[in-house]
Structure formats: structure tokens, C-alpha cells
């Protein structure tokens, strides 16, 4: 019995001690280091930073270790820590056009200024278990040549003529030849290129302070700023399923992955004292801009619409799904009919947060025997009156009291 008995306190302490032992596992196996997690489980760390909304690789790695690899639990640990941190200001909007690109692909143009940069991706791998990874590492062959932090495949901008055919344009793995990190300046965003010709709606520009749902309760209708914040913190699996549903016709938005880019951007903050923005550091982010079906009105020529996704680290699945859902949620603003779950702002925003969701779903483990006792009493009473009335009426069924 886990309730109704004295000694609950000791039982809890014992459970925690057992948890610590199980977390550690077999003591003959070396303990996992935080550095191992942050260096070798990078995508898990990225997800925990994104949904935990705290950019700190070490803390995310610690959380993953403490949570025994349960990423939602790790996200929760990071969130609970984050909420205690003091805020000293608001950063200037990130300039993702100035990103130090590690990966950049466009599904809408074969070639474009800056080229396609495949970067580290599973995309073209054969999903065959690599038994070579099972044993001890034989050599450090996986490391990049001479301290380079990224792999660039494409030519333009590295002194080559932009018209040089680039091997990666065919997108084939055999084209892979690790080169120096791309240091060219020009990686204009695909959506900006389209916007120059007014073929896509302009990126909204606002001087207003963006909302913050960690400081103000969510209310409806929510602005796009709050929606995007909610989605950025939202559960990857939830967004994935919703984004997928839009592709299958539940609120279809005809998306193209205009561009997906991953790399580092500078974070700057405006300092009153000096009168200009000062750099605080760099963060790695993944950005997805979707290009969605055009719309036009009697007064406005047709043009494409946008969906936007952004996540810390390399979280491409999340960023793409987020862009799909962001676009679906714009249905109301764009005058589209709202009939699918992904278009329903209140439905999506209220259920996207996995820390909230897991808390409420798992709280069913808590004792509910007082409520259940009430229900038990009620059902017994109803059954008694049912038996009495069916005995009287020979199977006619329940007495229709209110009629």
C-alpha cells in the first residue's frame, strides 16, 4: 500500500535511493561524463536546450544524465532551473541572415547564392546499424580535419566562380569532400530573395516587445509572437504529428521547405550605457522558413505565404514541423477556413507543452481514492436503483424519472 499507511515519508526516501542506484546502473561500467553526453549525444542536448528554453549545453547534458536519458524529464529539470534565473535584459532579434552556416539547404532552388551546404546530416545515410560503433573506437577517424568545426561541400564563395558546378547540387553523398568551414559572407535567405520580387509576403517587422508566456499567462487569441514562443518550447513529437497532419490534408498549406539553415549566430543586446548593441556570445540555431501556397485578393496580386520555425542547436525535424504548424495557425489571419486541429490555436497552444502534458497525464499516478470512493458510492447506488426498478418492471429498463 502506498497510501493510508504511516511511513510514506520513509518509503519516498527509499524510492529516491533506489532511483539513484538504478540511474547509475552497473558500477563496473564507467560512469557517463557530462562531456561525453554533450559531445556525443549532441542532438539530445539540442532538443533539451530547445524545449527547456535554456541555451546551456552543460546543464542540458547534466539534466539528461540525471533523467536517465528521459528527455522530457530532462527538459523539465532545465525548465525548473531556468525559472529561478534572474533576467537582465532582452536580446536584440537574431540576424539569421548573418549566420555562420554549417548546413543550409533549399528545396525550392537548385542553386542559389551561397549554394547548398549539406553539413552534418543523416539525410543520405543508409539506415544500417553500424556494428563498427559497437566496439571500442579504433581511431578518431570521425573527427574533422585539422580542428575544423564544420564540413562544407559547396564551392561558390570560396574563391570559386559562382557558376562553377557544385558537386553537392546533385545531393549525392559521393560528392562529399570535407573542405574548410564556409567563411563566405553571403548566405541570403531564400525568402528574402523571393521577397525582393514581391513573390512572397514580407517578413513582419515590429518594434513591439515580444510577448513572453513564461511571464504572462497565455490568453486567446494569442499574437504570432506568443504562438511562435509556444511552438519553440513545444514538444517535438506533438508538432511533428500536427505538421504531418497538415500534409495529409487536415489543414493543408502546400508547403515547400524554402530553406533550412543551421549554424551559429551572434546574440547581441542593446546597452543603454554605451548606446549600441554589444555581443553577448554565439548560439547555434536551426531555422526553417517554409514557402506556402499563395493567396491573392481582388486588390492584391497573389503571392506566397510563410511559415517559420526556429530551434536551438540542430533540431531540423522540430524546426520544419514548427514552420508547418505556424503556417497552419495563421489560417485565421489569412482568412482561411478553420477546420483542422493544426489550425486551431487554442487546441494547439494549450496542448503543445510536454512538461505540462506529462505532469497532468502522469498525475494520474497520485492517489485519487477520495474521488473514487464518491464515484464508487454513486455507481453502487445507481445499480441498486436499477436492480430495484428492473425487478419491478421486468426488464423494461431504467425508470425514466424525469419524464
Amino acid at each position: 500500500m502506498y497510501v493510508a499507511v504511516k511511513g510514506g515519508e520513509r518509503a519516498i526516501e527509499n524510492a529516491h535511493a533506489l532511483l539513484a542506484a538504478v540511474r547509475r546502473g552497473n558500477p563496473w561500467v564507467p560512469e557517463l561524463g557530462i562531456d561525453q553526453i554533450s559531445e556525443q549525444l549532441t542532438l539530445a542536448v539540442d532538443r533539451v536546450m530547445s524545449e527547456g528554453s535554456l541555451y546551456d549545453r552543460e546543464l542540458a547534458a547534466l539534466a539528461i544524465k540525471q533523467a536517465r536519458g528521459d528527455l522530457i524529464e530532462a527538459i523539465f529539470l532545465v525548465r525548473a532551473y531556468r525559472t529561478t534565473l534572474r533576467r537582465f535584459g532582452t536580446a536584440a532579434p537574431l540576424d539569421t541572415a548573418a549566420m555562420d552556416i554549417r548546413r543550409r539547404i533549399s528545396a525550392t532552388f537548385k542553386d542559389l547564392p551561397g549554394g547548398q551546404v549539406l553539413g552534418p546530416t543523416f539525410d543520405y545515410t543508409y539506415r544500417l546499424l553500424d556494428h563498427g560503433l559497437a566496439g571500442p573506437a579504433t581511431q578518431v577517424s570521425a573527427s574533422l580535419p585539422e580542428g575544423q568545426k564544420s564540413i562544407r561541400i559547396d564551392g561558390p564563395g570560396r574563391g570559386d566562380s559562382p557558376s562553377t558546378p557544385s558537386p553537392c547540387r546533385e545531393g549525392l553523398p559521393d560528392a562529399l569532400s570535407p573542405l574548410a568551414p564556409c567563411e563566405i559572407a553571403a548566405f541570403p535567405r531564400v525568402t528574402d530573395l523571393l521577397a525582393n520580387d514581391d513573390l512572397i509576403e514580407p517578413s513582419p517587422i515590429s518594434e513591439a516587445q515580444a510577448g513572453d508566456l513564461t511571464r504572462e499567462p497565455l490568453s486567446f487569441p494569442a499574437g504570432r509572437d506568443v504562438r511562435l514562443q509556444n511552438l519553440a518550447r513545444g514538444d517535438e513529437g506533438f508538432l511533428l504529428a500536427l505538421g504531418y497532419s497538415t500534409q495529409r490534408g487536415y489543414g493543408r498549406t502546400h508547403p515547400f521547405a524554402g530553406e533550412i539553415r543551421f549554424g551559429e549566430v551572434e546574440v547581441e543586446m542593446f546597452a543603454e550605457e554605451v548606446g549600441f548593441a554589444i555581443p553577448l556570445g554565439r548560439v547555434a540555431v536551426t531555422e526553417c522558413q517554409s514557402i506556402n501556397q499563395f493567396r491573392g485578393t481582388a486588390t492584391q496580386a497573389p503571392r506566397f505565404t510563410r511559415g517559420y520555425g526556429l530551434a536551438f542547436g540542430q533540431c531540423e525535424r522540430k524546426a520544419i514541423a514548427m514552420a508547418l504548424v505556424d503556417r497552419a495557425l495563421r489560417a485565421h489571419d489569412l482568412g482561411e477556413e478553420i477546420k483542422a486541429p493544426a489550425q486551431d490555436e487554442e487546441f494547439v497552444l494549450s496542448h503543445s507543452d510536454n512538461v505540462q502534458a506529462t505532469g497532468f497525464v502522469e498525475h494520474l499516478k497520485l492517489p485519487h481514492y477520495v474521488d473514487f470512493q464518491s464515484e464508487l458510492g454513486l455507481v453502487r447506488r445507481l445499480r441498486e436503483s436499477f436492480a430495484a426498478s428492473s425487478g419491478r418492471e421486468r426488464g423494461v429498463g431504467i425508470a425514466e424519472v424525469a419524464e
Binding site: M1, Y2, V3, A4, V5, K6, G7, G8, E9, A11, I12, F76, R79, A80, R82, T83, T84, T214, R215, E216, P217, L218, S219, F220, P221, E346, S350, V355, Q356, T358, G359, F360, V361, E362, H363, L366, P367, H368, Y369, V370, D371, Q373, S374, E375, L376, G377, L378, R381, L382, S385, I398, A399, E400, V401, A402, E403
Partner: protein
Amino acid sequence: MNGPAYNFAYLDEQTKRMIRRAILKAIAIPGYQVPFASREMPMPYGWGTGGVQVTASILGPDDILKVIDQGSDDTINAVSIRKFFVKTAGVRTTTTTVEATVIQTRHRIPETALHEGQILVFQVPIPEPLRFLEPRETETRRMHALQEYGLMHVKLYEDISRHGEIATSYAYPVKVDGRYVMDPSPTPKFDNPKMNDCPALQLFGAGREKRIYAIPPYTQVVSLDFEDHPFAPYRFDGTCALCSATDSYLDEVITDDRGSRMFVCSDTDHCATRRTHGHGASSLCPQDEGEKNGLRAGPGAAP
């Protein structure tokens, strides 16, 4: 909670001020759900984060805290929340209802009548009484604003037509101060009458749903009903196997796999106090104080 030192009662003072403002507004508009910027707490949503934030915001160093879950001071949730405040606020705690200045509760109101100056803090999972009739917040807020509670009455009526009585046994809706329909949190409806004209302040915190509401002392709280189907608090017709109480809310304890069961007070403090005052178990029912191996079957207690 080792490592960084936290503020008294965990929350920083800015956050407490924000929550106190919401509480004051809630007291000023009895039964109205005030949105507040609920924080992520170091315990999961759904495990009392709303109640914990309310308690953290009102707790002072001289307070004496009691925490109950399902009426008991010893259930896991109660233990864990009480320990949290011992650790972060160092306040005195008690299990005695009359002694406590702040009582945080999940799913019960103590049997012992509350007195002036006490504050009862409820943990609330779903603050919106209309939620299961209308899932949209935008709609339910409008319904409250217009006092449009017809849907709720239709629901209660449908219960009667289907089952012969109102088939809501807990989280039974009440009307506060003749204005707002309110969810009393999932307390059994047995407890509803205790909310009415109560000398203590009753605060409700829903952390995940980011709402706070309140019933100020001596406020009228009416359980919704119909003239021909008046509200009736339900209680299993039996006596407590430990203290022989005949008026307390009882928990059913299954004692074997052949249908034997016994009934004991859900309010452990109430039960213990009665026993110290000489109310023993019913003569048919040998007891071992429920200390170790669970509660023994009492043949007299089976229905």
C-alpha cells in the same frame, strides 16, 4: 535542493508579489478565475504546483503549515509538499487542523471546522467548471461574463433524466456569492457544505492552467441543484473502523480478495484526535493502528 540557495519559500519576491496581486483580485471577485503567470516549479504540473505557488506566496516565517492529500497527512503528495516547505521556508508544520494557520489540501476539506485567520489552499487540476461542457477557454470566459450557466443546468438535468439523480459525486459545481459558478476542485461533494459561510479564507491555485480563485471568509457558497432534486451530500452509511465516527467521510479499504472491506476516516487528523479522546474502534474490529501492514479487516465494517 542542495546547491544554490533559494529565497524564503522558494519563489522570488517579484513572483510572490505577482501572485499576491492575483490572490487579492480573486478575493475581491469571489469565484472568478484570475489568470496569473504561473511558474515552473521543481515538482511536476498536476502535482499541486498551483497550490504550492499560492502557499509559497502567503507563507510567513511564523506560519504553521499543514499539508493533506485525500484528507491524510501521510500520503506521498502531502509528504513531498510538506518537506518542500520545511526545506525552503523552514516553517513549523503540524498535522493538527486547529493548530495550522495555512492548510494546503488536495481533494478534501478537513472534518474539523476551520476558524477565522486560517487559510485553506486547494490544489486545482481543472479550474473551469464548464470545461467538460465547453472545452474552449474563449467560450467559457464569455459564458462566465454573461452569467450564462444554462448549459450547466442542462447537464445536471440530463443526469437526472438518465440516472434519476445528479451523477456528479466530486468536483460538484457551486455558485459563489450568487455570481460565479465555480469548481470546488475534485473534493467529494460531501465537503461542499463546508465551503459555505466558512470563517477561513479559501484560496484555489491551478498551476498548469494558470488560474487563481478564492472564496473570502463568510461567503455564500451554494451547490447547484433543482427544487425537486435538492443537493444532497453523499456519505457511505457506516462507521469508521478506527474511531467509530459516524459523520466523517470514509475511505474504503479492501482487506482481502474475497470481498472483505473496512471503512476508515479519510481525515487522518480527525480520526487520530478522536481516538486520543477515547473514541475507540468498534468492538467487532481489532486494530493495529494501521501503522505497518495496512489496516486489518473488521468483520463489522463490511457492508
